[in-house]
């Protein structure tokens, strides 16, 4: 336009224009063209300057995309944008995966949940159904039928409990008979969809051809036994549903709707189709909408009753079994506790092994037979399995048995063990006692022997003591003088006293020898007292002379207080004119 004006203007000017005229012409041109010139320059700037161009495009880019989509060219737009968006997404994930993860999080959770729920629901539904049927009388009948017909039980159950089920859906390209998509219900045996599609369209052609039907007409339904094939034809594609049972009319509407959707979404691809099914990869999801099914109402309710009853019985059995096992286990546990309380038995472990109750531990050869406890507890001894390791127990009861067995005490002698120390009771013979200490060392577990009064030293001491206490030194009437015979008796007594003293030292005893003077009952009491004291003193003095230690001697006169014999005869009275000895011991602190 600018060009046109610049050309047009000089044509309007006279040929003989002066210099002045030229100047005013320029001015005129400026006046007329200035706004256009400026507009042109602005336009030029906008075209040449990338920043300005960016700004221009930015203000319309969103509207442009929207317009393009509305015009129906969404495929081209998507194709153009796809690589960029893919790269952008990849780049975003590479940079920071959390951004995309965060953005997708609210979508993914519900989607995953729905998918899992859907899977679980369909699994539970078919599982319930099969459980119900397999536990009922009808279920048994069906099982027989399955055996008879060679079908799987699941198949027979479905056949009887389904009102209908769409088993397979085929989408077939009308012109070529090639398979565009295929959806199949779970656990349905299927043939190659492309072959079935081919044959199905061949049969369509065959029928149409054979009966000279009008174009656009064709088979709408094929029926073989309880299998139905419903066919819905569109301009480019055919939808075929393989149905078992009697499907409701509404399924036709679903099929028509699905086919319409496919035609709307894929019209161009269907038209251009030359065998590449890649553009139809998403079509199976749409086809799956036709995979409808319906179970018989009655069979479901009835079935649940059986299932519940069966579950109850099963629970009872399982509960009873575990209860019984628990009770058995408790009884065995109690047995183990009893065994633990037995001397000479140590239980290290117990439990069930191959249906028997096994108890492991250590057993002293002298311990009671554990089998007797099994019988006492009312348990089957055949079910018990013992694994014992031998050991020597240190329980007093066992030690006592062991000592009795090994030391063989003579009749009338009993052995007891307390805290590992052997004690004797009864009247052991000196010969048996002789090397008891040495033999006791051979009894495992016995820490020592408490001989008590059966200690050889003690016995010797007691013997000597008895001897000493049996000695009576007699005096003539009214005197405290010793005869030669009595003096000799005293001399004989001294070695015994020395032996007593030695024994007492060995037994850690302090020895006290009381020299007791007596008098007969004749004579005055006062005289008798002094007489008996003198007699005692006399003997004590004599013993001192003979070398007996002074500290142990205690002389005392008891007059008639402790008569040696009753004075019923003269002979007996003689015995009371005497001195006797009493040996006393008291414990001395051990060194």
């Amino acid at each position: 336009m600018a060009d046109a004006s610049t050309k047009r203007v000089p044509q309007d000017q006279p040929e003989d224009a002066s210099a002045n005229g030229a100047g005013s012409l320029e001015e005129l041109r400026h006046l007329i063209l200035a706004p256009e010139q400026e507009a042109l320059e602005r336009l030029h700037h906008r075209v040449v300057n990338p920043e300005a161009r960016t700004e221009d495009v930015s203000s319309v880019v969103a509207e442009a995309i929207q317009l393009r989509r509305e015009q129906g060219g969404s495929d081209a737009l998507s194709e153009a944008l796809a690589p960029t968006i893919e790269t952008a997404v990849r780049e975003s994930v590479r940079k920071d995966p959390t951004t995309l993860a965060d953005a997708l999080f609210p979508v993914m959770g519900p989607a995953i949940r729905r998918s899992i729920l859907e899977t679980l629901r369909s699994f539970l539904e078919s599982f319930n159904q099969i459980m119900d049927q397999s536990l009922s009388v009808q279920g048994l009948k069906w099982r027989l039928e399955a055996l008879r017909t060679g079908r799987t039980f699941t198949e027979v159950v479905l056949l009887h409990s389904l009102v209908f089920r769409v088993e397979q859906v085929f989408l077939i390209h009308k012109k070529t008979g090639l398979s565009l998509g295929h959806a199949v219900a779970p656990s349905v045996a299927m043939q190659d969809p492309s072959l079935v599609s081919g044959m199905l369209s061949a049969i369509q052609d065959f029928v149409r051809d054979s009966f000279n039907s009008a174009p656009g007409e064709g088979i709408e339904r094929l029926n073989v036994g309880d299998l139905d094939v419903w066919v819905e034809a569109g301009p480019y594609a055919i939808l075929a549903c393989v149905i078992r049972g009697i499907a409701p009319r509404a399924l036709r509407d679903t099929m028509a709707e699905v086919l319409e959707n496919i035609h709307r979404e894929y019209s161009a691809q269907l038209d251009r189709f030359t065998g590449d099914t890649a553009p139809f990869s998403a079509v199976n999801k749409e086809l799956a909408r036709c995979l409808e099914y319906k179970y018989k109402e009655g069979s479901k309710r009835k079935g649940y009753g059986y299932a519940w009853a069966a579950a109850g019985v099963l629970l009872l059995f399982v509960g009873g079994f575990f209860g019984w096992r628990w009770w058995q286990y408790r009884r065995w546990n109690n047995l183990v506790d009893t065994l633990r309380g037995q001397p000479g038995l140590v239980i290290t472990s117990f439990g069930r092994e191959h249906g028997r109750f096994s108890i492991r531990g250590l057993r002293d050869p002298l311990a009671p037979d554990p089998r007797q406890f099994v019988e006492k507890a009312g348990l089957d001894p055949a079910k018990a399995e013992f694994h014992w390791g031998a050991y020597y127990a240190l329980d007093d009861a066992i030690l006592q048995q062991r000592a009795t067995q090994l030391l063989a005490p003579p009749h009338g002698v009993t052995l007891t063990v307390e805290n590992g120390i052997l004690r004797l009771a009864g009247q052991p013979s000196a010969s048996w006692l002789k090397d008891l200490r040495a033999r006791s060392l051979l009894v495992p577990g016995l820490s020592s022997v408490d001989f008590g009064r059966f200690a050889p030293e003690q016995m010797a001491f007691d013997q000597t003591k008895d001897d000493v206490q049996g000695v009576i030194i007699k005096f003539p009437v009214g005197t405290a003088s010793l005869s030669a015979a009595e003096r000799s008796s005293l001399r004989n007594l001294v070695p015994k006293l020395a032996s007593l003293q030695n024994s007492a030292a060995t037994l850690h005893q302090n020895l006290r020898l009381e020299v007791v003077g007596h008098s007969d009952a004749t004579g005055a009491e006062g005289t008798n007292q002094s007489l008996s004291q003198r007699r005692a003193d006399r003997v004590a003095w004599e013993l001192l002379q003979l070398g007996f230690a002074d500290s142990a001697l205690h002389a005392k006169g008891v007059a008639t207080a402790e008569p040696v014999r009753n004075e019923d005869t003269e002979e007996n009275r003689q015995f009371n004119r005497s001195v006797t000895f009493v040996v006393k011991t008291s414990s001395s602190p051990q060194p």
């Binding site: 012109k175 008979g177 090639l178 398979s179 492309s194 081919g198 065959f206 065998g275 099914t277």
Partner: protein, 164 residues
């Protein structure tokens, strides 16, 4: 997945079905030929690194009892034109069939297969016929469904022709 519809064309008893049987594993019985006039089989072949499913429509060869159904040819991407080398009239019939296909669905890729190469001593190929064949400038293969000679080759050549 790329699929191609391929038809087997030729006179009665030239060995179309035998060629297909040599080439594929099928799920349908041959009885379909006489009832519906076609049997569909499938063979997966590899071409340029991608898998291609060939859907073979084995069409019933025309005889006095049954006519060939041309509807089956609709949408086909290529075909194998089969003749019997021992029967001269089958070759002539093949020429007619090719012309008819061109009229029905246009010029589409095909391979001409002269079958029964195992009986080559009985072939009825005279020089006149040979010159006719040469003049047509077709892709021709000598095959034998009996020995398997060129069977795979016929199908792979056809596949190559469909993907120029």
């Amino acid at each position: 997945m790329i699929q191609k519809k391929i038809c087997m064309l030729g006179s009665f008893a030239v060995g179309k079905t035998s060629l297909v049987r040599r080439f594929v594993e099928s799920i349908y019985s041959d009885a379909y030929h006489t009832t519906v006039g076609v049997k569909v089989d499938k063979k997966v072949v590899h071409h340029n690194g991608s898998e291609i499913s060939l859907l073979l429509w084995d069409l019933y060869g025309e005889d006095e009892f049954q006519k060939m159904r041309w509807t089956y040819l609709r949408g086909t991407h290529g075909y194998l034109l089969v003749a019997d080398g021992t029967r001269r009239n089958t070759l002539e019939k093949a020429f007619q069939l090719e012309q008819r296909v061109r009229e029905e669905v246009g010029a589409i890729p095909f391979i001409f297969v002269i079958n029964k190469a195992d009986l080559i001593q009985d072939w009825q190929l005279d020089p006149a016929m040979e010159s006719q064949l040469i003049a047509r400038n077709w892709s021709i293969l000598r095959s034998s469904a009996k020995t398997g000679e060129n069977v795979d080759d016929a199908f792979s050549q056809l596949t190559r022709k469909m993907f120029p």
